[in-house]
């Protein structure tokens, strides 16, 4: 059955393919257009450079009037990302506008990697290190960048991880 949310998501997907923003990609999962898998490449000149971070985006039938739930599947170390991978970003909460699409969401998260906001910490340790000990922060980020490659090597493990996160959500 086609609904306004599903129609809009088809448009989002088409737009993402026709005009792909650099450093991000995303697509609906095989059998469910309301659940997307996405990848954000760590932006250049940041400690996240070369990382390939996987995310899931879950939409409801209220999309685009309500924002989707976006969550990192890959391990993340960032002041505004919670331990379960969910993201503290204003446009995904109170500053959401129905004119945002998947492409806008992914590029906003990408720029959040570039430009953390340590004043609204979702991960206290990361926020503190980002403010006070940048070298240690970068070291911790480097570790999760390496881990993000391991996900690619071992497809079986990755699937398991995804299953787990779904069960947990």
């Amino acid at each position: 059955m086609t609904t306004p949310a599903r129609r809009r998501l088809m448009r989002d997907f088409k737009r993402l393919q026709e005009d792909p923003p650099s450093g991000v990609s995303g697509a609906p999962s095989d059998n469910n257009i309301m659940l997307w898998n996405a990848v954000i490449f760590g932006p250049h000149d940041t400690p996240f450079e070369d990382g390939t971070f996987k995310l899931t985006i879950e939409f409801t039938e209220e999309y685009p009037n309500k924002p989707p739930t976006v969550r990192f599947i890959s391990k993340m170390f960032h002041p505004n990302v919670y331990a379960d991978g969910s993201i503290c970003l204003d446009i995904l909460q109170n500053r959401w506008s129905p004119t945002y699409d998947v492409s806008a969401i992914l590029t906003s998260i990408q720029s959040l990697l570039h430009d953390p906001n340590p004043n609204s910490p979702a991960n206290n340790e990361a926020a503190q290190l980002y403010r006070e000990n940048r070298r240690e922060y970068e070291k911790k980020v480097a570790a999760i960048v390496q881990e993000s490659w391991n996900d690619d090597d071992d497809e079986g493990e990755e699937d398991e991880e995804e299953e787990e996160s779904k069960a947990g959500s």
Binding site: P4, R11, E62, P64, N65, I91, P98, A104
Partner: protein, 490 residues
């Protein structure tokens, strides 16, 4: 309590009804005097409670219909004055807390600037429609131009998308704060547009109900009675932190902030105190007073014995509690460390000492606050005991029911005094040191003593002489009034 009703309905003219307890014999005398003196009206001196009672407050209960009429009158007045639409006037009043003079002044100074600041229009008019069949940027469907609508900012979206937007917002309880759908556009959507677009009549009702709530909440002279399922709206002349008692549901509360009445403490202070008691901010103080972090792995350690040789349970590091240095270097020089602590670690130490002091102070006030709250609950049983005892006495022909009413009045007064006493503790906690605090604590102690005396006498009412009890009641209430007169912000 007919005196109370009178006070609300006809507060100005009849001085006699200003008394809160209009049933003592003295009041009766005054009532009679008043009745005959009323022809010589406009004598302010014949209303003692108005000038003397620090808790005196004029208010009246309104039904929803009356409140609606009142708001509509104000909205219409602004409409005619500024020549704006009723929806616009409503938004302006809501966003500026019904300060009509201020709105008129600012609007007349710079109409467009004021509307921009009020989020009712944007600096430039946007135009996001291209071609004869533009695409709606929310649903990504092309429609003929007449399907598109928008508010003053110029962002246009199709009718269905607006409808959907309003539905989701109203379901979340958002009405007067609905914004334009465009990203980063703060322009608010006014009522006329919402009602024009909304297709479901049920949602339109919901919208008007929720927006009415917002209007009342923003109005400084109106307040919803916080009583459960009570629809009464209290109207007062001024927004003051005074006690209001709802005649319909008997709830009593502070007019300005809506929570339990809290004289002599102010609204923001009592809020701070209540959050302080509720949340674990004191736990944090406890942690800093009784614990230190392991100097190696930074795990938090609580000192649970007298020995200063500590071993971290996490990393097994041995260290000295005093100087946080490695224990290995101690041994024979241990006593040096204990002498040493004044110097290198003094800044750190004083923080701990300060935290410990703060905890002690808080616990002192909190204990007393809690104690009075508990006593207040216990006084409830006293009241019911008095009622049963009175009934027994009347049954046994020991006086009539009226003869024993003074006992119930004594119990009610005791509750009132204890209530005020309870709320003096947060006030004292946040008070700065100085002569005013000395005076406050003196009066508090006086009130405390009289309240305890009264409590003692009420509990032993049968062996206490009536005159003695009445005297004690008078003394306690005087103390309460004196304290409020000196410290309640009027």
């Amino acid at each position: 309590m007919s005196g109370d009703v009178n006070r609300q309905l006809s507060h100005m003219s009849e001085a006699s009804s200003c008394y809160s307890d209009g049933n003592s014999s003295e009041d009766m005398d005054e009532d009679i005097d008043q009745y005959y003196m009323d022809t010589t009206d406009d004598l302010d001196l014949d209303c003692p409670s108005k000038t003397d009672d620090p808790e005196y407050f004029e208010y009246e209960p309104l039904q929803v219909m009356d409140a609606e009429r009142l708001l509509n009158e104000e909205i219409e007045a602004l409409c005619t004055k500024l020549k704006v639409s009723p929806s616009m006037a409503k938004m302006l009043l809501l966003r500026h807390n019904w300060q009509k003079e201020e709105i008129i002044e600012n609007y007349q100074k710079d109409p467009s600037g004021f509307l921009i600041d009020s989020h009712l229009t944007s600096r430039r008019k946007h135009d996001n429609l291209i071609g004869p069949r533009p695409m709606c940027s929310v649903c990504c469907v092309n429609y003929p131009r007449d399907r598109f609508h928008g508010v003053t900012c110029g962002h246009m979206f199709c009718q269905d998308c607006w409808d959907m937007h309003f539905q989701t917002q109203i379901q979340d309880g958002i009405t007067t704060a609905i914004e334009c759908m465009a990203k980063e556009c703060p322009v608010l959507v006014t009522e006329d547009f919402v009602c024009e677009v909304l297709t479901q009549p049920k949602l339109r009702d919901k919208y008007s109900k929720f927006s009415f709530n917002d209007l009342i909440k923003s109005h400084p002279k109106l307040r919803f009675c916080p009583g459960v399922d009570c629809a009464v709206i209290i109207k007062a002349k001024e927004s003051k932190a005074k006690k209001v008692e709802c005649q319909t549901c008997k709830a009593s509360f502070c007019f300005r902030c809506g929570i339990s009445y809290h004289a002599p403490t102010e609204c923001d202070v009592i809020k701070r105190w209540l959050t302080k008691c509720e949340d674990d901010s004191e736990t944090a103080n406890y942690i800093s007073a009784h614990t230190k972090d392991c100097p190696r792995c930074h795990v938090c350690i609580e000192k649970n014995g007298g020995c200063n040789h500590m071993q971290c349970p996490e990393c097994k590091y041995d260290f000295c509690w005093m100087c946080l240095g490695d224990w290995k270097s101690h041994g024979s020089e241990y006593y040096e460390c204990s002498r040493y602590k004044e110097n290198p670690n003094i800044a750190n130490e004083s923080v701990h000492v300060q935290a410990r002091e703060a905890l002690k102070k808080y616990l002192f006030y909190y204990e007393r606050w809690e104690n009075h709250a508990k006593s207040l609950q216990l006084e409830e049983t006293t009241t019911s005991k008095i009622t049963t005892r009175t009934q027994e006495k009347v049954m046994n022909n020991q006086g009539t029911w009226i003869d024993w009413q003074y006992l119930l009045r004594a119990a009610a007064l005791l509750k009132k005094c204890r209530y005020t006493l309870q709320y003096t503790y947060p006030y004292a906690y946040y008070m700065d040191k100085g002569s005013r605090k000395v005076l406050f604590e003196y009066q508090q102690a006086q009130l405390e003593a009289e309240v305890e005396n009264l409590s003692w006498k009420v509990e032993r009412a049968e062996i206490t002489d009536r005159g003695d009890l009445e005297n004690q009641m008078d003394v306690a209430e005087k103390r309460r009034q004196t304290l409020l007169k000196d410290f309640l912000e009027v």
